[in-house]
């Protein structure tokens, strides 16, 4: 494991997570959440959890984001916080 990469991804995970919660547009939040999941997936593959990372890539970054986008499309993008 190369620790600078590890640290960089950990930081990115936190930034993407905060970003998903801060951005004032639900579609943006959905996409940032996808980025968060994908960073998480990278982190887990660095840690050697290949099966978990694979699942997260397909579920978290893939299908979950699609669900979010579909739900936002059916409701509204507006958010006050």
């Amino acid at each position: 494991m190369i620790w600078p990469i590890d640290l960089a991804i950990l930081t990115l995970v936190v930034i993407a997570g905060i970003g998903a919660l801060m951005v004032k547009d639900l579609l943006g939040a959905a996409i940032l959440f996808g980025a968060y999941s994908f960073m998480m997936c990278l982190l887990w593959s660095i840690m050697g959890a290949v099966d978990v990372a694979f699942t997260e890539a397909s579920v978290g970054a893939g299908v979950s984001t699609v669900f979010f986008v579909a739900a936002v499309f059916r409701t509204s993008r507006r958010t006050k916080d």
Binding site: V14, G17, T55, V59, G60, T79
Partner: protein
Amino acid sequence: MTDLISTVVAKYNYWIYITLMMIGLYAMIAKNNLVKKIVGMNIFQTAIILFYVSIGVKKGATIPILEHGHGPDVHHVVHAVDYINPLPHVLMLTAIVVGVATLGVALALAIRIYNNYNTLEENEILTQVREK
């Protein structure tokens, strides 16, 4: 002081998981928008998964798929120290699935609420409820 720094560095995965978890928890409690709360819920769940995956990491070990699985030397001796602990991975596969299932249900509920009240902001919904 060096003691403190070494503990901080040695367990930074744990600190990050706590940070993420608290971000998610705060969003679930304090955010006003229902979908934002759902995002927070997912961050909260993935933070716990990160914690479990961190338990499984083992220095100097490789991914938990046996080499020479089939072939002439099938029966060579496997040393446990060479492979990462697979059990947390198994548990977390289940947890990820539970996460996406909860997400689906939560979004379905959010859509139903939007159909009723035409907004996703919790305080606006509550005002509408009180007016009735």
